[in-house]
Amino acid sequence: MKRFAGLMRDHIFFFLNGQKIQVRGREALGMLAPFLRRERGLTGTKIACAHGACGSCSILLGRPTQSGFNYQPINSCIFPVFACDGAHVITVEGLNGPDKVGGQDDGVLSPVQCAMVDCHGAQCGFCTPGIVITLTAFHENRVQSSAEDVKAALEGNLCRCTGYSPIIEAGMSVETADLRPLTQIYPPEPLLDGLNAGASDAVEIRVPEDELEIGQHLFVPRSPEEAICWKVAHPEAIVVSGGTEVGVAMSVKGLAPREILSLAHLEDWDEVTRENDELVLGARATWTQVAEQVGAIVPEFATLLTRWGSPQLRNAGTVAGNIIRAAPISDSLPFLLACEAELEFIGELGARRVTVADFLESGPTMRPDELLRRVLVPLPKEGQTLRLFKVSKRRAFDRSIVSAAFLLTASDGVIEDIKIAFGGVAPLALRLPQTEAFLQGKPVNSAIWREAATVAYNEISPYSDAAASREHRTRLVANLLRKFGAEL
């Protein structure tokens, strides 16, 4: 096995409410929310679902930037402690500064907390800390806020008592003049200084097997070379990128992988750019980063992203996770299939490109030494129409029942070319080549989509699950074809 060039740490460190802490051993491999509650006594962070599906456990994750920290809410119940390495974590107790975390109650409230009290935004109080965290992040760097903005920010926070109206009102009536930015409450310089030593080290934590639990081995590389090398040596390792999927398995199903390869520190794999006629998505870009950049490049995809998971999930989840897991309901795959995107893997032999269709066709598979590096999406050309659909039981913060992507080239009322991809209608997302072929050369009229639906019926194999029945999925395929036609 190759030796690594860089230095190695056997622990992680991060700042928690302004205080530097080190975590080693099994604690580093657990989830952040129980760590905060049990090990640090910070019980303000609530665990209501442990699935990343309610937002009660929201905390602020401050990732270092050039100038300070970028604070975003994430679900701490499915966020591994090791992924906090080098960051600043602020919990509800820490919102008013490091000296207010514990001890005597001086009754000081932040403007967001004040608004929540004054607008009666808390009833039972269990979801409240998470909501205060979300609204605090929302108001950081913001002067004005519409109800629409506040709702978008709160999509990842469920509340069973209030019906949300008082919370939205609170979000809109925060005394912004009194707001102290988090960078003022926690000046970044001392934190950045404190994170400096060992910041470029890789992390390797080995936990020996004990009488109750298996041995575990975590590696957090600093370079692609280290990552690939370790992956080859540990072919069974679970690769964790954003952790929103593995985190649920670890939190709920008790998954305790023997070997974990975390990509948390391959920070520079997060580009979201336009290169010529292609959209380039770095594997480690979070969906929030994608959403911020992609609006100007592919507005239709940006719109779809607003229906995707929750802000907390988009702040943690990455491009790589959504694609490599290749869930039948992955929200990105129909879009990537319709646009005939390519995946770029890197491995021992260098880079390799494969189309998304081929990647899915074969399994989905990649070689043992490979990691997804980036995704290259040919952009819709002038005269092409791209439409993306997502149907879910709940409008926001829900997985797809069926998702669809259409890329149409038509001229003079005739379909020159169309690419159609669906998610949620087969074990993997897929293109519908027969339907596409049927439509080619046909006139654009309402009857044609109805006929296309009949063709599509033979290309799909929908299933029944907790979200929807096979019949519903079948109807949706036909109706989304019709809807696409009707809305042209």
């Binding site: 509650r37 910070l42 019980t43 303000g44 609530k46 209501a48 679902c49 699935h51 599906a53 309610c54 509800v92 919102l95 008013n96 967001v112 907390q113 929540m116 009290v117 009666h120 808390a122 009833q123 039972c124 109080g125 269990f126 979801c127 409240t128 800390p129 205060v132 709702k151 999509e155 926070n157 469920l158 069973r160 008592c161 209030t162 019906g163 949300y164 109206s165 008082p166 939205i168 009488e211 109750l212 649920v248 709920v252 659909f389 149907v391 039981k393 709940r394 409008r395 926001a396 029942i401 699950d465 907790a466 019949e471 109807r475 949706l476 109706n479 989304l480 809807k483 009707a486 809305e487």
Partner: protein
């Protein structure tokens, strides 16, 4: 300034927003505390053929494994009937039914023990659906009925008649804090429970019964719940019993916190119902006769199912007079977790049935459903008696109905929707204005009582304790306001203390919307006894020679004075301090019973309201959004308008969740497929009405109740059903005229699309 009537923030809100409020799992662990969990049945119905604990026992950190054989008292218990096993004996009757309780030093040991327990259950074919239970004649209790006149005969003579069946799904409570309890052993065999329960007395009674103790050896404390909604009325008991059993066996504190998935799987929910109906009416839409047959899915045991069922029958008329009516039905026993109380408590199922029927009549007669509703509202003598004999008095509903229709421009919007639906190829809109008349009181008479303990301290501050529990609804805030006003002091000088059976005994659950009515009244009664003594004392204290006549003593703004000499006032703190010196008692217990209840008057009064919802559905996907909702309610004089608004808005959204996106799916084997928050969807911030207007009548009063207020907890949830009727209305535009949309509840996108396809097929 009086506190009552002001929008004082929730008394815990400042702690809530800073994460300082202590919920059960936030209580700092005791030094030697154990964690508790259980292993339950893998199947919904079967026989336990083998159970081997030997491997699990040997796991380091496992302190105890307990089965029904270890239960010191009675293993059989239940809220109304004792028909539930705390730990399964030889048979299992729902998936997840607890069989082995595990006590361990750590979560790791707990997980290891769960894996090491060998359990073999021989599965039998379970009964899952109402239809299966009817087929197998598996019922709980005898048939139930309320009737007036001769519905069968009358139906034959009606000019028009519609028959049908409506399927109503259940609903998961999804309180954010799952079921949980902490048991701490004490001296002399005592056990103290901290429980997230709406019913500390129930926990006390059941713990005493199952653990073989006297009630005097058990204390149950509830500081707060992270939501209850009925789900913690009876079903907070099992985790408490598990923790209690462990605490008793080991002598160590023990805590049991259900995971979200465990909670989803093993706890009961809102009862699914099937309603078969025959309705007779005339050409104006006047209801003449009705026969409704209700079947509820109770799950494996009775729990509160009989009371829930009764309330469904009591609300099957909703706000409408039906001369000849027969309401009958059965409670079905199935192999599901035992369905239980849920905000609305059967009332919603009764109301939905009649509201759905009215939508169908409107479609049938080609009339506006709102007209039919108004036409049928209870009215003057001869049309003012419910099927169960209660006279509707001072009914403001028709007035509310007309006011809301007017304020929300019902007629213009109906016109606009007619035009929109005639042209839009993509969307369909619907509009519906419905009513709710919700009976306030437990239908079990003895529960309509409460007690309160008020302690005044010598600095003029007050502590009050009642049997009422705080689950976010603001009960403690309202009680604080009520008590403050009785002594004319600032609410800041009143603390509402954690609920404990040590202070308040034999209490009813905090339920039936009556928390403030009962506990607030009891607290006021206690205060008045103290105040009476203090008034007499002040009359002496403020006089120069002979005591001042009592009626001249005024309590105002923290002071007590003689009306004729207001300048000589006694500050409340000084008054009580002096009274104490004179050995006058500054503590009191108040007791309250709801007046006037009887066989033909199950309810003290009704809380009424109307709601109007407008929805838009996507013709292709069945996706739905509520573009606007308006609510107008009569809640008497509000004790705290902000808290009541919170109850109304929150209840409405919870109700529309039940009606739309919340779907419980069970497999044929009786496994809940939607036990996880990834698959069970409560409304999120995007689902609420985009334009949401809530009002209540400002000048309404109900002097018979505490401070002229009315209960508010459950009724607004049922108003949320107008979203469902609005969807039904939108669907009515899709099919040919006269074809009723066969919509069931919940109206998920899938259900809406199913109906659209069915109606489309009927179109020529």
């Amino acid at each position: 300034m009086p506190s009552v009537g002001r929008s004082i923030p929730h008394e815990s809100s400042r702690d809530h927003v800073r994460g300082r409020s202590i919920f059960l799992d936030d209580i700092t662990p005791h030094r030697n505390e154990l964690v508790v969990d259980f292993v339950g049945s893998p199947v919904a119905r079967g026989e336990i053929v083998a159970l081997d604990l030997s491997a699990a026992t040997k796991i380091p950190g496992v302190v105890g494994l307990y089965t029904f054989r270890d239960v010191p008292g009675s293993n059989l218990y239940g809220a109304i009937f004792h028909d539930e096993y705390f730990l399964a004996e030889d048979k299992v009757s729902f998936q997840g039914e607890p069989i082995v309780v595990i006590a361990a030093e750590s979560h790791a040991a707990l997980h290891a023990a769960k894996k090491a327990i060998h359990l073999d259950v021989r599965p039998e074919t379970p009964i899952v659906s109402i239809a299966q239970a009817i087929e197998a004649e598996e019922f709980i209790g005898p048939p139930r009925a309320i009737s007036r006149g001769h519905a069968r005969d009358a139906l034959e003579k009606c000019p028009h008649r519609l028959d049908g069946t409506l399927y109503i799904g259940g609903q998961e409570h999804f309180y954010m804090e799952t079921q949980c309890a902490l048991a701490i052993p004490g001296e002399n065999g005592h056990l103290t429970f901290h429980s997230s329960t709406q019913n500390p007395t129930e926990t006390q009674v059941m713990a005493a019964r199952v653990l073989g103790l006297g009630m005097h050896q058990v204390v149950c404390v509830c500081k707060r719940m992270g939501g209850g909604f009925g789900g913690k009325e009876t079903q907070a008991t099992p985790p408490a019993l598990m923790a209690g059993l462990v605490a008793m066996k080991t002598g160590r504190p023990a805590r049991c916190i259900y995971s979200r998935e465990t909670d989803g799987r093993v706890t009961g929910k809102r009862h699914p119902f099937e309603v078969r109906y025959q309705i007779g009416f005339d050409s104006d839409g006047r209801l003449l006769a009705a026969r409704l047959e209700f079947y509820s899915n109770a799950g494996f045991s009775a729990d509160l199912s009989t009371s829930v069922f009764d309330r469904a029958l009591y609300h099957a008329d909703n706000a409408y007079f039906i001369p000849d009516i027969e309401l009958i039905g059965r409670i079905c026993r199935t192999n599901l977790p035992s369905n239980t109380a849920f905000r609305g408590f059967g009332g919603g199922q009764g109301i939905l049935a009649i509201e759905s029927i009215i939508e169908d009549i409107a479609e049938f007669l080609d009339k506006d459903a709102a007209e039919i509703r108004l036409l049928n509202c209870y009215g003057a003598e001869g049309r003012n008696q419910t099927p169960y004999g209660q006279i509707i008095q001072d009914d403001t509903l028709p007035l509310l109905f007309e006011r809301l229709a007017d304020r929300a421009d019902y007629k213009q919007r109906r016109q606009a929707i007619n035009e929109f639906n005639a042209t839009s190829q993509i969307h369909l809109r619907g509009l519906s204005l419905t009513t709710v008349k919700f009976g306030i009181s437990f239908t079990t008479k003895f529960l309509n009582q409460a007690n309160a303990l008020v302690n005044v301290y010598t600095d003029g501050t007050v502590q009050v304790s009642t049997g009422g529990t705080e689950m976010g609804q603001g009960l403690n805030t309202k009680i604080r306001q009520l008590v403050a006003d009785e002594f004319a002091i600032d609410a800041a000088n009143v603390s509402v203390m954690p609920t404990s059976t040590e202070k308040n005994n034999n209490t009813p659950p905090t339920a039936a919307s009556a928390g403030t009515d009962l506990n607030g009244s009891a607290a006021v009664n206690a205060c008045r006894l103290i105040r009476e003594r203090l008034t007499e004392f002040a009359a002496v204290r403020l006089s120069e020679d002979v005591p001042i006549p009592i009626e001249r003593i005024v309590w105002e703004d923290g002071c007590v004075f003689d009306r004729e000499k207001p300048e000589q006032c006694l500050d409340f703190g000084h008054l009580v301090h002096a009274a104490h010196r004179e050995r006058i008692s500054l503590g009191e217990r108040g007791h309250y019973i709801t007046p006037g209840l009887g066989p033909s008057r199950p309810f003290f009064y009704y809380t009424t309201g109307c709601a109007l919802a407008e929805v838009e559905i996507d013709r292709f996907t069945g996706e739905m959004r509520v573009t606007r909702a308006d609510i107008l309610m009569d809640i008497g004089q509000s004790i705290n308008p902000a808290i009541d608004l919170g109850q109304i808005g929150g209840g409405f959204v919870q109700g529309m969740g039940w009606a739309t996106c919340e779907e419980l799916k069970f497999s044929d084997e009786g496994e809940l497929l939607t036990a996880s928050p990834s698959t069970y969807k409560i409304p999120g911030v995007r689902d609420i009405p985009e334009d949401f207007r809530i009002e209540f009548e400002q000048d309404s009063r109900f002097p018979e109740n505490v401070r002229s207020s009315k209960a508010v907890g459950e009724p607004p949830l049922l108003l949320g059903l107008c979203v469902w009727t609005a969807i039904k209305n939108a669907l009515s535009y899709a099919g040919p005229r006269g074809h009723v949309a066969p919509l069931n509840l919940p109206a998920t996108g899938e259900e809406i699309l199913r109906c659209l396809c069915e109606l489309e097929d009927k179109c020529p």
